[in-house]
């Protein structure tokens, strides 16, 4: 065991932080710092800046045009982005990219990979269905093989940014034989294929990020299968593993903590009673402490070797991240006090820059609380994560 960051990683951290801080456009930084809802244009502009440096796809190896960073360097990079007030990483870059690099045919790699980091192609993930949430393997969107193509019918739901996407990777049912997992295929499709309809879903905070995607007799060429027919679950599991650092929510948690710290100063300056502020300060202190441990849990997951029996599972990381995001967003809601009343959900994600009645910062307190009620649901619910931890660990612990 060696508990210190390597000198190379320390040097990398110093240089990347300085560089990133100088790159974030001021207007984007202001929106991010105020916890405002970002627009597609904000993501595109930031991604173009990263692309110039060769950092647009941080999880990609050098052979595919990525920076070839180690997992530790990626975490350092992500943290630098969050600290600098940059938009979050577009998850699909680090998801579909590595999937195609690992399982894609030469033709798929040639066709799809180049435009992923630049976001010239925007991908969305078609996994959940109305009747298949936690029980994802029960999914019913069906792809029927007809000659050299599939005809796909069904419905996806909670599809993030489907309205911005021109491609979707999705899981479809191609067989009813064997276990439900054994009849699933990982399929790529263009969003403008006839028969695909995207319908917006507005969330509790009023924002439009997720969608329903209806698939009606959608014709998809057979060459759009990744890996092989009925092998989709293998690809899905690989992808889940690829997003585990994202799912830790560390960067988001640090951003909310930064926001809460600034808000605490404002509360003191504006004469809020000490009794009230003390409650918030105590909560903030506990969150700070837990966040430090969470960061080390992330390090242990990242640095774990194949044969490390003490490496925590990704579910532990997800649960701790969810807990922190829920508590932080709750704290913000509490700190905002009566001002949170003035949050108008119908204004979230609008195209105007109209200032809310009591300013963007106070508006962000209620917006964030409402937004982060999703924390315990997305990427596997808290209940499912607990089931996984039990199943994965009870045997090991029993034999110790």
């Amino acid at each position: 065991m060696n508990l210190s960051l390597s000198p190379a990683d320390v040097a990398f951290r110093e240089s990347i932080r300085t560089e990133i801080a100088a790159l974030v456009p001021a207007d984007i930084k202001a929106r991010v710092d105020n916890l405002q809802h970002l627009r597609k244009e904000d993501f595109l502009r930031w991604q173009a800046i990263l692309d110039e440096r060769g950092w647009a796809a941080p999880a990609w190896p050098a052979e595919y045009g990525g920076p070839g960073w180690s997992p530790m360097q990626r975490v350092i990079f992500e943290e630098a982005c969050f600290l600098a007030g940059a938009p979050r990483q577009i998850p699909h870059v680090n998801m579909i990219g590595p999937v195609l690099q690992t399982f894609g045919t030469p033709e798929q790699k040639r066709r799809y990979l180049p435009d992923i980091p630049t976001l010239r192609d925007w991908w969305c993930q078609g996994y959940s269905e109305p009747s298949s949430g936690s029980d994802l393997a029960s999914l019913r969107t069906r792809a029927v093989r007809q000659g050299d193509h599939y005809v796909v019918n069904g419905q996806k739901i909670w599809t993030t940014w489907a309205h911005w996407a021109n491609y979707m990777f999705c899981l479809v049912r191609t067989s009813d034989q064997g276990r439900p997992q054994e009849g699933i295929t990982f399929l790529l499709m263009e969003m403008d294929t006839p028969g695909i309809t995207v319908r917006p879903i507005h969330s509790l905070d009023g924002a439009h990020d997720v969608n329903e995607v209806f698939l009606e007799d959608v014709v998809v060429p057979v060459e759009n299968v990744v890996l092989a027919e009925n092998q989709g679950w293998t690809v899905a599991k690989f992808l889940l593993n690829a997003e585990r650092t994202e799912i830790a929510g560390l960067g988001q948690a640090k951003r909310l903590l930064q926001f809460a710290t600034r808000l605490a100063e404002r509360l003191a300056a504006e004469g809020v009673a000490a009794s009230r502020r003390n409650v918030f300060e105590n909560t903030l202190t506990r969150i700070r402490i837990d966040l430090k441990a969470h960061e080390w849990t992330l390090m242990r997951v990242i640095a774990a070797t194949e044969n490390d029996p003490r490496a925590p599972s990704a579910s532990v990381l997800k649960l701790c991240g969810t807990d922190l995001l829920e508590r932080l967003s709750t704290l913000l809601m509490d700190m905002g006090g009566p001002a949170g009343l003035a949050y108008d959900p119908s204004s979230r994600g609008g195209e105007t820059d109209e200032t809310p009645p009591y300013g963007h910062v106070l508006n962000g307190t209620a917006a964030t609380y409402l937004e982060f009620r999703k924390s315990g649901l997305v990427g596997g619910t808290t209940e499912i994560q607990k089931n996984l931890i039990y199943r994965e660990t009870v045997g090991q612990w029993g034999t110790r």
Binding site: S131, L204, E270, A273, G337, A342, Y343, P357, A366
Partner: protein, 372 residues
């Protein structure tokens, strides 16, 4: 003690439920202030015609002389159906403010107007936006050419966007707290609508040298008449929250029994059953605390009244959060969908939480009163 509803109380609840079911859709989110005022005026008149506006007003002033035990039944029914009418301000707080006013003739006339539905009066007391403290007043009244004029800014005035009148707290020329009745259309009054988190019609109201009559309360009454009225309103909000919790519980119960995953109803999973049980306990405790506070409102002891009200509000705020968060988690994705009914109950719950003091404000007041 008896917690069963009398026949009269059951009829009252029935009246409210029928009203809530038949009062038609609200204006759209982006509708203009004028549209909202017109719609609210029409529905308020309906409520007055049903006898609801004058429910706590004394019979001698044209009301029905009912107590808070009756009023909270109305509030709970309004909450259950998410009616969101200006009942708590217009039919609870305003009468409670005016019934202790010094000028008997004015008082009687105003109470009569409320009961008849011709006025919707709200309280304009809050100035701070980061906590709740009705005692922190910088709005002031000055003597000018034999008259008085009022100047100041009130933030997040509840139902302020549609009210006809405001009872405005202000410091008199001797810097003593009192309250003044101001019509929304008076020269010098500027009402800026603020659409609330849960759809409420709030306002930021600016008073710029507005001519006012004599203060409402006896010289030296201090904040007590105002605190007492807000305490009544706070209990009414707690009761509305009980209605919200009831509905959130029933939506969740239905979902747990009908939503299928892994080949069975998700309500068969013990982890979810336990979370639901926590919701039930939180709702029951909130109900007990609300009844306790409603009982304390009838007493003469201002200290224990404030304690009980703060105990109830802080508990309803805390448990309201627990209930709404569990309801969301047990619903999964559909629970954070704007289109689904639950989201409106969640946001109204949060709005109630932030109105007239949240858990922290009320825990602080409870603590101070206990130490005193």
């Amino acid at each position: 003690m008896n917690f069963d509803l009398t026949d009269d109380q059951r009829a009252l609840v029935d009246t409210v439920e029928k009203f809530a079911a038949n009062n038609g859709p609200k204006p759209a989110a982006g509708a203009s202030a004028e549209v909202w005022v017109a719609a609210t005026t029409a529905r308020w008149q309906q409520m007055a015609d049903l006898g609801l506006a004058g429910i706590v007003i004394a019979e001698e002033d044209g009301g029905f002389g009912m107590g808070m035990a009756d009023a909270i039944l109305v509030c709970e029914a309004l909450g259950r159906s998410l009616a969101q009418e200006p009942f708590v301000t217009g039919a609870i707080v305003a009468p409670k403010l005016l019934e202790t006013a010094t000028d008997r003739a004015m008082r009687s006339a105003q109470l009569r107007a409320i009961g008849e539905g011709s006025t919707r009066i709200t309280i304009a007391s809050d100035e701070a936006i980061l906590d709740f403290d009705p005692a922190r007043i910088s709005t002031r009244v000055e003597e000018r050419q034999g008259g008085r004029c009022l100047t100041g800014v009130k933030n997040l005035v509840i139902d302020g966007a549609t009210a006809t009148h405001f009872v405005v707290t202000a410091l008199d020329p001797e810097h003593k707290a009192n309250a003044y009745l101001v019509a929304a259309g008076q020269p010098g009054v500027t009402v800026t609508s603020i659409r609330g988190l849960g759809g409420g019609q709030f306002a930021r109201v600016t008073f710029d040298g507005v001519e006012v009559d004599a203060p409402l309360f006896d010289d030296g009454a201090g904040l007590e008449p105002i605190t007492r009225a807000i305490d009544h309103g706070t209990v009414a909000l707690c009761a509305e929250a009980l209605g919200l919790m009831t509905r959130m519980l029933s939506l969740t119960a239905n979902y747990l029994q009908t939503r299928q995953q892994f080949g069975k109803a998700i309500g068969t999973f013990q982890a979810l059953q336990h979370r639901f049980a926590d919701m039930v306990v939180a709702a029951e405790q909130s109900r007990s605390a609300t009844y306790m506070a409603a009982a304390a409102l009838a007493g003469d002891d201002a200290i224990s009244r404030q304690q009980e009200v703060s105990a109830a509000k802080s508990m309803v705020c805390r448990h309201g959060r627990a209930v709404l968060e569990a309801a969301i988690q047990l619903h999964g994705g559909i629970g954070i969908t704007d289109e689904y009914e639950l989201s409106r109950y969640v946001r109204r719950m949060l709005e109630i939480e932030k109105t007239w003091g949240d858990a922290f404000d009320h825990e602080a007041r409870f603590g101070e009163l206990t130490e005193a």
